[in-house]
């Protein structure tokens, strides 16, 4: 997890396009300036970053389903529950399931577990748009490759 660069996902563990599911892992760093403020003397992974980790996992799922033709952006977070504290050094297992593939949006159910214990969950709405530019698209492809997200090219191109 490169927390300061907002790269919260370390690797894709499993991608099942038929079942519209993905699993990822992320190791919370042992040391980060974020923990100096959150909180002094009691470092905790901020809940908003747990939600971001779920959103990034959900986003990779949508990217994979769209075969890199479109880019998801977080639009809404619903029914988010942050159940347990996460401390530096903990390994997160993140699951996402595409509940609905709408026209220009997607609804994704997401969960994070640590040591098999449910940590948090949320229903996310993602707007799915064309990539704003080629540079961003290429950077997303490079980032996907670095975390082990493999998506075949579309059959027609």
């Amino acid at each position: 997890m490169r927390i300061e660069y907002f790269q919260l996902i370390d690797r894709i563990v499993d991608l099942n396009l038929a079942d519209r599911k993905i699993s990822s892992e992320a190791l919370v760093p042992a040391v980060s300036t974020i923990f100096e403020g959150h909180f002094p003397g009691y470092p905790l992974m901020p809940g908003v970053l747990l939600i971001e980790a779920m959103a990034q996992t959900a986003g990779w799922l949508v990217v994979a389903i769209n075969r890199f033709e479109r880019m998801p952006f977080l639009a809404a977070v619903k029914e988010a529950k942050l159940r347990t504290f996460i401390k530096p050094g903990q390994l997160l297992s993140i699951d996402a399931h595409l509940d609905h593939d709408g026209s220009g949006y997607a609804i994704v159910e997401t969960k994070i577990r640590a040591e098999r214990k449910l940590i948090c969950d949320a229903t996310l709405t993602l707007c799915v748009l064309d990539f704003p530019n080629a540079k961003m698209e290429q950077q997303m492809r490079d980032l996907a490759a670095s975390i082990g997200l493999k998506v075949e090219a579309p059959a027609d191109g």
Partner: protein
């Protein structure tokens, strides 16, 4: 009015906390009811689920942006109901 209208009116009332009595077949979802694009995604999701369809929001938006259609054609609720009925019929064809 059709059961389709009743269903989407109830969805809008519940999703956007709009009094059901203020929602009529002639209501424009955006201009009269003040529904914004993000709230409309929630409505579209509920409609997709309720009718087992996929509202072609992107196509409709493109048509409006290109001047090939007006928002009235898709967002006045009696017209939206008719579009939904067409999509449901096409699905069953």
């Amino acid at each position: 009015m059709s059961s389709t209208f009743e269903t989407i009116a109830n969805i809008i009332a519940e999703t956007c906390d709009i009094p059901r009595d203020s929602i009529t077949p002639d209501s424009h979802a955006i201009n009269d009811l003040g529904i914004d694009s993000l709230d409309f995604l929630d409505i579209a999701f509920a409609i997709d689920k309720a009718f087992g369809i996929k509202l072609p929001l992107e196509q409709w938006t493109q048509e409006v942006n290109d001047g090939k259609a007006t928002t009235d054609q898709y967002f006045v609720l009696k017209n939206l109901s008719a579009r939904i009925d067409e999509l449901v019929a096409a699905k069953g064809a």
